[in-house]
Amino acid sequence: MVDNRLIDELRQIVGNENILTSKISLETYSFDASPYSGRPSVVVFPTTTEMVANIVNIANKNDIPLMPRGAGSCLSGGAIAPDGSIVISLTKMNNILEIDPLSKIVLVEPGITNKQVQLAVEQYGLMYAPDPASQNISTIGGNIAENAGGIRGVKYGSTKDHILGLEVVLPTGDVITTGNIHSQVEPELDLTYYFCGSEGTLGIVTKAWLALSPINPEVKTMTAIFGSLEDAGSCVAEIIAKGVVPTTMEIMDNTVIKAVDDYLKLGFPRDAEALLLLEIDGFPSDVKTQVNSIINAFASNHALSYKIAGNEQERLDLWKARRSVNGALGKLKPANIVHDIVVPRDRLALMLEKVAQMAKKYGIIIGQVAHAGDGNLHPTLYYDHRIPEEVEIVEEACDEIIKETIAQGGTISGEHGIGIEKLKYMPLAFSKPTLNLMKNIKDAFDPKNICNPGKLLPQITED
């Protein structure tokens, strides 16, 4: 329990201006972007690695749960403070420590936002490739904890593809440095990539070496409309098979197209079953080759029409439909739940169709937007949370969507993480020996289970 004596010790470490204990302030730290909530005992804002280590030492000595927190934009409950916990907010550790444009590496503290990193490296013609939709607010520490993806993910991969090394305060209070900024020529176990996506359960990242990529000089954006999901799906497969890797490849289904058209009056055909939004980048000569390839794929897969943006305004117009999805669909019902399932790319069209059938079967509205290039679907189920029957039906539909995802050889989360939300699905996705092994490894990092407990790994029942 966090008592006054401990509060004083924490105050000693971080200073009076870096600690919150009042009921109202704690209330604001009891949520993330998921529907869950928790009851933290205290929030501290360390400004150095040493402070973080000292705080963790106190938690460790007194068996108090702790939770590292960035912007709190987690969608699966990963940033919900355990009851009675110390919340370690990293938002005051938000400096860029070194930019090395020659090696294309930036060393940052975890509390800096993704956007701030982008802005800082832009002047060198470089970018940090992962660009989650939350990039304006979400922090690098949070991105690492959740292995955040992004709109450009098809081409550039997710956070773990761009991390070179980490400084981490372990749940025991020890500080370690992982990874390499040069080629590894000695045998060594690199823990960097195990921390990525570990949802704050293995330690607290206090520094990160990020790999940067050159900004490609030219971008081209286009949309195409299809009469069936199947045509759109095979178009996606054909584009990829031809060696074109778009930075973005978004697909919207008929429910979404109609809702967006009602909202924005863009003049989409009402019977359009799929809208594909693509963006490619590269040297100008690369872009030319890729555009030709894509237009051919549109034609051979029976696209009803297509548009290519000729300038920035036209580009924004093409993006407008995609960006308005939440606004347009939000008008239909007061509440919604969104999944982030992934299926192999060759099953994307089939999965979109299966979910559309489920919407019919359960008599509910499911809007489907998918990052087609990586097989990541966002079925959004709309309902009225004040009507218990609707809540029940939606829950049932969710379970069926997850089961179908696994049956299609997919995975239950591609972006949002397991957190609290998907704990119940873990035994469907992993065998008992696998879950046991994960638990054993967690014990090695966190023998007292104080680091963000209750997330990611379900309670394993004994037979």
Binding site: T177, S183, L189, A241, T289, P344, G375, P433, T434
Partner: protein
């Protein structure tokens, strides 16, 4: 070992398990002082499970092996235990060209994988140094090839994995999708674990379409100074579709080779630029061999030129050193009988540049991650392998 309890129990459990006394019976050439008592060649995952479970019961060390090409790099000499060759686990399990994924068994050699993918104009982007290296071995060592600059290392192409835990359980993690944040990436712990945390029986790999075009350009720099200048410009000033920049010292001058990969039209423009501005001309495949050398240096890219400059300085008095390098991977290598003093001098220079210098199989620039790191690695190992069965003579586990 012929009559031990372990082998008797194994024979009772697994009919016809193939055994051999010498690794050379399996075309595996181990260096001196590597003396396994027995070599097993299981035919199925179930047989590996039996081997590992019985090894735990009888306390027999187990050393998984693929082609054996990197065995002594990661493992110290030993006299006790069995080699478990994955050579019979070499099937393709699931190939999905439209998903750009392929699931294969751990013992499949890289050249067989590439041959199969090539039919669909697809490739696995790790250019292994040896055709026979197995997929399991590439993953376990997190191997990278000449084109690391463009394609990074093996771990980035592993989407899913099945492995036998050190206690003999079949563990399945990850999947066949590019995006996947469902729980811990245990396969990322296994990648680069050098066999210490599990025996990789299957892996689902991300593969890529073959680039439209690849070209090789060559140029001979007259001396060290010119070499440094050209590398500096190519690496840091030009915008190129660069896959590798390698060089090797000739009797006079340095042969520099560039590999470009991408769309044909773009490469044509880049080739013209490199021809006009630097005098590069089209060249043949065949590149400086960086891996097989006494001395290997790895540097961060920003200090690569400084490191190379230092090495050239040390070299001025010793004509026998022929320096080779891969500037895009930050690597330098050379063969020499140089004195201890000279090696130490080189090591000191590399240390100040935050690089690593390995000579023979020994590191002369001791990178110490500290007690806490080593302790954590040990803890993970102990939790996964409480009986210390899997690769006990590993160089990865440090005290």
């Amino acid at each position: 070992m012929e009559n031990t309890e372990f082998l008797r129990s194994l024979r009772a459990e697994v009919n016809n398990i193939s055994t051999a006394i010498n690794p050379s019976d399996l075309d595996i050439n181990l260096e001196q002082n590597y003396n396994p008592q027995l070599v097993l060649t299981p035919n199925s995952i179930g047989e590996i499970v039996s081997i590992v479970k019985l090894a735990n019961k009888y306390g027999v060390p187990v050393y998984p092996i693929g082609s054996g090409s990197k065995f002594s790099k990661g493992i110290s000499p030993f006299d006790e235990g069995v080699l478990v060759s994955l050579k019979n686990l070499n099937k393709v399990i699931e190939y999905r060209p439209d998903n750009m994924s392929i699931e294969v068994e751990g013992g499949l050699p890289i050249n067989e994988l590439q041959r199969m993918l090539a039919k669909d104009n697809i490739f696995f982007p790790i250019d292994a140094s040896n055709d026979l290296q197995t997929i399991g071995g590439l993953i376990a060592t997190n191997a990278f090839g000449r084109k690391k600059y463009m394609y990074k290392t093996t771990r980035f192409y592993v989407m899913g994995m099945e492995f036998i835990s050190p206690q003999g359980e079949i563990i399945k993690v990850g999947g066949r999708t590019i995006k996947n944040v469902s729980s811990y990436d245990v396969h990322q712990l296994l990648a680069g674990s050098w066999g210490t945390l599990g025996i990789i029986t299957k892996a689902t790999l991300r593969v890529k379409p073959v680039p439209e075009k690849g070209i090789v350009l060559g140029y001979v720099a007259k001396n060290g100074n010119e070499l440094l200048k050209v590398i500096d410009s190519i690496l840091y000033k030009e915008k190129l579709s660069l896959a590798s920049l390698t060089f090797e010292q000739l009797d006079s001058g340095f042969l520099i080779k560039l590999e470009l990969e991408g769309f044909a039209e773009t490469l044509k423009l880049q080739q013209e630029l490199l021809q006009c501005k630097y005098g590069f001309s089209e060249s043949s495949y065949g590149f400086a061999d960086i891996d097989n050398a006494h001395g290997i240096i790895a540097l961060p890219l920003k200090s690569y030129l400084k490191g190379l400059g230092k090495l050239l300085e040390h070299n001025s008095g010793d004509k026998d050193i022929k320096i080779r390098g891969n500037a895009t991977s930050g690597l330098l290598s050379f063969n020499t009988n140089a004195s201890r003093d000279m090696l130490q001098n080189i090591a000191d220079s590399i240390n100040t540049l935050q690089g690593t210098f390995v000579f023979g199989n020994h590191s002369l620039t001791e990178k110490n991650r500290g007690l806490a790191y080593n302790h954590l690695i040990r803890n993970i190992k102990n939790k996964m392998d409480p009986n210390h069965i899997l690769v006990p003579a590993s160089k990865v586990m440090r005290e």
